[in-house]
Amino acid sequence: MLALNSPVMQQGFFYAGNSSAHGEFRALCPIEGGVVIGPDSLIRTIREIERLSAQGLQHGDAASAVAQESAKRLLSEAQMDRPIYVIPSAIEASEGDLLIHWDTATKSVVLICPASTTKPAQIYREVLDGRRAIHSEMVEASSHSLSSALAWVLRAK
């Protein structure tokens, strides 16, 4: 359940059709651009990271333990900073790194957790005009920058 006075609700992204009686909303709500939000986003994301790791070796590419732990820690700490509502559109392992993508029709955020501690975790952000990125940037990942990026991706502007 999401409170009607929560920041996400006030941004006005919900489809009216998803609302139920008494001002409550279903657990998972698709918003414009296909992104899904829900109150249990963090736990779903962590479960998906764990599922991906279990499948990884079958598919030839698994995220390292360092990458997984880094992602889980950043997500958990970001949740303390500000509740995470957005559910990733893709979680993938590539050459030991773990990449988590959050996409809307106009913006994307990617958390990149490297395979080893020799590189810092990073956050990629882009603004889209149609299918093309018109602006992109990389910043070093911290719980605060991740929390800000996930709030930013849900904002209309």
């Binding site: 296909g34 991906l52 893709a90 993938e92 050459e95 990449l99 990125a133 940037e137």
Partner: protein, 129 residues
């Protein structure tokens, strides 16, 4: 111009279609209906992204593929980061100009996400049955 004996193919037409094989089931994102961005990350061992010029040719080259996606040459060329599609065999080409994530993480991600957006999933087409 190529070296002696090397075949130099003409530039592909803008309306031409190219196909990128899915090596694993997780190459496709059922949530978005598109391939995963990782399908378009170039590895250091590659000079470009391998694409077939026909579905049959792609399957012949990658018999273990679990599917493929289709991209149109003009859409690839419309990428904000300049990319080249270079034909290097009768039924094969490479998308070049993509850095590895180690070389340039930001550009590699920007390109991969763009290519994933323009790609059309081609798993359920009759020729794969």
């Amino acid at each position: 111009m190529g070296t002696p004996g090397e075949i130099v193919y003409p530039e592909l037409e803008s309306t031409a279609e190219v196909y990128r094989a899915y090596p694993f089931p997780d190459s496709f994102n059922s949530r978005t209906g598109k391939p995963m961005p990782k399908l378009f990350y170039r590895k250091a061992s590659e000079t470009g992204l391998s694409v077939g010029l026909s579905p049959a040719g792609t399957l012949l080259r990658y018999p273990g593929a679990v599917g493929m996606c289709r991209l149109i040459v003009r859409d690839i060329a419309d990428c904000p980061d300049p990319l080249l599609i270079v034909q290097d065999a009768v039924d094969h080409a490479e998308i070049r100009g993509i850095p590895t994530r180690d070389e340039d993480q930001e550009r590699a991600l920007r390109i991969a996400k763009y290519l994933a957006r323009i790609a059309e999933d081609w798993r359920d087409k009759p020729f794969l049955a």
